[in-house]
Amino acid sequence: MTTLTMTRATLLKDLRMEWRSKDAINSMLFFALLVVVIFSFAFNPTAEESRRIAGGLVWVAFLFAAVVALNQTWARELRNQVLDAYRVSPAPPNALFLAKAVGNFLFVVVLEGLMAPLFVVFYELRSVGPLWQLIVVALLGTWALVVNGTFFAALSIRTRSREIMLPLILFPISIPALLGMVDATTAILTGEASPDFWIKMLAVYDVVFTAVCLLLFETVLNAE
């Protein structure tokens, strides 16, 4: 079995399960919605202000929401010892990791697509810079969060108090990526600065950490 077929099989299985239950997407959506409403109360911004703070606001909401989904990534494989079965099977471990990461990526991208209109409505957002740059930043930034998040979720299911553990180890490592996403988004929305450096930085971050994840996942999966 090649990595590609295994990845596709696992990914399709996850997507089908998510399509039927809609657990991850519903909890993420509701969570992000709550964050949007609470931020709006907390800052009560005007249209001009909200353009300045929107970069931070949007990404903090997505980051918190993504953690909700990431925590569920491996939990479902623990039931009925699916993960153990996977470990004894000859399937390549990285196929499992890639499938989970791509699955989470799709969930979070769908969430972002659904939430974007809400942000526009609630915060009267209008971008000065081009829209395609925002999309590039969103895709690179989401992958940066999700690839490390999927890996660290696999770490944190092995610990006591798993659900608290994930943000504790994910957030410090993600600080440069978050800084990049927030600053690039603000730069595009206000049109005052060029987001080029941040887009390059996010791309580097993605490549480096995807490599590290693929390098170490087998070790972590088989940790005893």
């Binding site: 490390n148 890996f151 660290f152 770490l155 092995r158 610990t159 006591r160 108090s161 553990m165 504790l168 180890i169 957030f171 410090p172 490592i173 600080i175 440069p176 800084l179 990049g180 600053d183 600065a193 450096f197 941040w198 930085m201 580097v204 971050y205 480096v208 950490f209 590290v212 170490l216 070790t219 972590v220 940790a223 005893e224």
Partner: protein, 229 residues
């Protein structure tokens, strides 16, 4: 081996006394900053020692994943803890100096922010070690250590860009361009003594870790025989 270590500890204590004397009494008082500048002799050597500890942590983690020996893991745990301690010293002495000199306790300047993020990463490493269950701790911790180490240059690069984009309220300061030879002298003695203190603490913490492992193994063996307390 034990004698060598005791001698080394004695030497370190002597060295620390000497370098403290150098820093507090021998080195000349800085003209504009005054006495508060002397914190420099503790601040910078602590930062250096923290950096050494984190580097040791990275090497030990890689060694653990490669060889899977308990010794590397104990060294990784010891160096991370000592490193976090020195990093905390850096983060506390920094604001004490900055307040009279810059007029503010803290600024989100590249070096300060990078140090803080570094501290956060290694605290999360220690938290993971504390929470990980049983025999998996070592592998999980080693994996996270590698992530943390890879992250540091990216953090520094991105925050430096972030700050050059938006000029910070406080310009200058901190740079020791053209240090007085007498100050340099005191500084290097302190650098040496702090490095030695770091090594001593790491060795002690390493031994403690190995002892704890032994105690745990003995308890486990006793429990298996049904004679556990």
């Amino acid at each position: 081996m034990k004698n060598i270590f005791v001698t080394f500890v004695a030497l370190t204590v002597g060295l620390l006394a000497f370098s403290t004397y150098q820093g507090l009494f021998v080195a000349p008082t800085e003209q504009t900053m005054g006495e508060v500048q002397r914190i420099f002799y503790y601040h910078v050597p602590s930062a250096w020692t923290a950096g050494v500890c984190f580097f040791v942590n990275f090497l030990a983690s890689v060694a653990y994943l490669w060889k899977r020996n308990a010794a590397s893991d104990a060294l990784a745990a010891a160096s991370a803890e000592v490193g976090v301690m020195f990093c905390t010293v850096v983060l506390i002495t920094g604001p004490i100096w900055a307040r009279p000199v810059w007029g503010i306790w803290w600024t989100w300047d590249a070096r300060l922010t990078t140090t803080l993020v570094l501290w956060l990463i290694y605290v999360s490493y220690l938290v993971l070690r504390r929470f990980a269950a049983g025999g998996q701790t070592q592998v999980l911790a080693a994996a996270l250590a590698i992530f943390g180490f890879v992250d540091v240059p990216i953090v520094y690069m991105s925050i430096r860009w972030f700050r050059t984009q938006h000029p910070s309220p406080v310009m200058g300061g901190g740079e020791n361009s053209g240090l007085d030879p007498a100050m340099l002298h005191a500084f290097f003695w302190n650098l040496l003594s702090f490095t030695c203190v770091g090594i001593v603490l790491m060795v002690l913490r390493y031994r403690l870790q190995r002892l704890e492992e032994k105690v745990e193994a003995t308890h486990a063996a006793a429990a298996l025989q049904g004679g556990a307390q």
